[in-house]
Each structure stands twice: as C-alpha cells, then as structure tokens.
Symmetry: C2
Subunit: 203 residues, 2 copies
C-alpha cells in the first residue's frame, strides 16, 4: 500500500523533477506547502500557469519579454547606444550586466552555447538572428562577445568571432583576469596566465 | 523600468517564498521551467492545486490522508497491532519508521513540537486528540514517544510522559546511543554519555 497520499506524492514528484531539488528537499517543500497558508501554493500555481502564456521572445534580441510586447524594453528604449551589441548566453546574463549599470548598448541572447557533446550546434542557438540583425542594422559598429569564460563559452565565442569576420564590425570580448577582491595566492593557473597576458599600462 | 517580464518575476518570487530556495535557485528554477517542456510546469501547477483540495487529516492518528478517506491506510488496516501507538512529530517521521519495516503498531502525529520561543504550546499540537484516543481505546497498552532527539523533541516527550502518567499505559521512548555504522571516535559527548548510560547486556 502506498504510504503517502497520492496528491502529496504527486507534488513531491513534481518538485523532484526540477534541477537541484532532490528527494529530501522535494518532500520538505511539499510538507511545508501542506501546512503553509493557501496563498503560497496558490501564488506558485498561478505563476506557473501564467509563465508560458504571458511570456514571449523579443523579436530583436531574443531575450524573454511579455507576450503582448513584440520588442523588449531594452530594445525599445531610445536611450541606449545602437552602436554596440553585447552577445550573451542566457537572459540571466543580461540581468547581471544590467545590474552593473556599466553598459548602455543593446543585447543579443543566444539561449545556450555550442556543445557537441549535448548535440547543440549553431542552428540551435539564436546565431542566425544575430547575423540577420547585424546585416539589417549597419549602425552596429561593435559586437561584444560576453559568453561565459568556460570551455563551451569560449568555443562559442571563437565560432562567432570567425563567422563575424566577414562583417564590418569590431568584435571584442570581456576581459579575463583576477576577479576584484580576490587573492592572487588562490587564483587558478589559467586565470593568472590570462591576467599576465592581458596586463595593462598604468595611466 | 523592470528588467524581467512580470510573469517570470512572479514565478521567481513564488519560488523564493519557499524554504531553502534563495534568489539564485529561484531564478534558476524559473528559467529552467521557461525552457523545459510544458508538462513539467503543468504537472507542478496541477499538483499544487490538488494538494489541499484532495488531502485531509486522518480522524484517528492525525496523519495526512486522502480527503475522501476519513481514516488513513495504517489506521484502517486490520493487520496492525492495536496495543502500541508510536507518537511522532511529523508525517515524514511515519514514513521513516515505516521504511524500517520494524514497527507494526499504530501512529499518532503531533504536527510539531512544543516550542515556547515560537509560541507553540500543547494546544497547538494534536495532544488533546492523543488523550481522547487513549481514553477511548483501552486496548492501547504502550505509547512510544518517538519525537526527535532534539531539545524541543525531548521537552515534548517529557511533557507527554508527565501527562500520560495518569493513564494506565506503558510509556517508552526510542533508544539513544551510537548510530549504526558510526565511529566512536567522532561521536559527540552527549551521544556517548547516552550510549554509556543505556548500555545493554550481551545475550
């Protein structure tokens, strides 16, 4: 006989199917919601139901946007520099860069990285959209490749760099080096090598 | 201007309101569901909606049960010993004990522990229900206090032990000692003291 009532087991299973939530966390969450005020589980259920119904993809930068908007707020803004496009892997990367307040250009979201092992090729990313955008907007003078400093991120940047060679745009990427507030003693060899190779003149 | 579309931010907020899920995990989960096949978020939304609608409390042991059942499967079973009731804090404790296969009596779920700091007194737990049950069923000869071996669990057990003194039942609690497979060298002092005090004759 099943020990847990079916509705509870279903919720535990649903939580467990999410990344980073194991069996223990899943049952803790389910039991928590069982005891918690109704609005907590209601809010989550409503948010889940509305997520895909009310979100869409920006026609320009491929970032997530409201379904009723064709173009996201950043692409629609007249305050931002049309000359620079920063290419990132995921929408969360746009958030991270926006939080810095240090970038006033436009974005392009690839929605992933090249990964031959997982069978993800150029056609699975928003690369075609990037090239169409660059061809249609000659005002774009610079493309910043801001993929993650990982194996896949670097491979994707290298691929894009080669492909972009045919277009009259400057291609740059984010600097590698020691993270601010870190300790040279604990830096890994690769980071230290990059920091050495990319050393800069003091003004 | 809001950087994330509202439906996405709502889902992140809903996840963040759950215990053990911080801002980073919440946005990871939301973005994962945005990309994942629809059935994943649908399953979770349905399970959430059905949770409270279709679960109830067992009239006998206060464990969680299907709403359409008055009495849970364990209480309804004729295969189990009516003479012993094991008192636990939470439904998950019933699961843990059932998994051992070593207990064939009945359960009583308190749904919490006494905690003066959090303002949880005896009237907030299913203690009245336990006493009514014991008075109504003289067949119950033994009550095993299986609260957690924590400060609150021990205080709750002590409280119950005193209250149960007026009834003609044997009151026992789970043994304290070295966990199986552990190392004496690494046992904490309290556990070791309990193991010494509770030492048993070798047969």
């Amino acid at each position: 006989m099943p020990i847990l009532p079916e509705p509870l087991q279903n919720l535990i299973d649903a939580f467990e199917s999410l990344p980073g939530i194991g069996p223990k966390s899943a049952s803790r969450l389910a039991f928590y919601l069982l005891k918690a005020p109704n609005y907590l589980s209601d809010n989550l259920a409503i948010a889940l139901a509305e997520l895909k119904k009310h979100t869409g993809s920006c026609k320009v930068c491929c970032n997530i946007t409201l379904a009723k908007q064709e173009v996201c707020d950043i692409c629609a803004s007249s305050q931002r520099d049309d000359g620079v496009v920063c290419v990132v892997e995921e929408p969360l990367d746009v958030l991270a860069l926006e939080r810095t307040g240090g970038f006033n250009g436009r974005y392009h979201v690839l929605h992933g990285v090249l990964s031959p092992i997982e069978g993800i090729g150029p056609e699975d990313l928003k690369i075609r959209e990037l090239f169409e955008r660059l061809k249609a907007h000659p005002a774009i003078k610079e493309v910043i490749l801001a993929t993650n400093p990982s194996m896949e991120g670097d491979a994707t940047a290298l691929y894009l760099q080669r492909q972009l060679g045919v277009l009259p745009v400057r291609v740059t990427r984010l600097a590698r080096g020691l993270p601010v507030g870190s300790d040279l003693e604990y830096a890994d060899t690769n980071t230290l090598l990059r920091a050495l190779a990319g050393r800069q003149e003091l003004d």
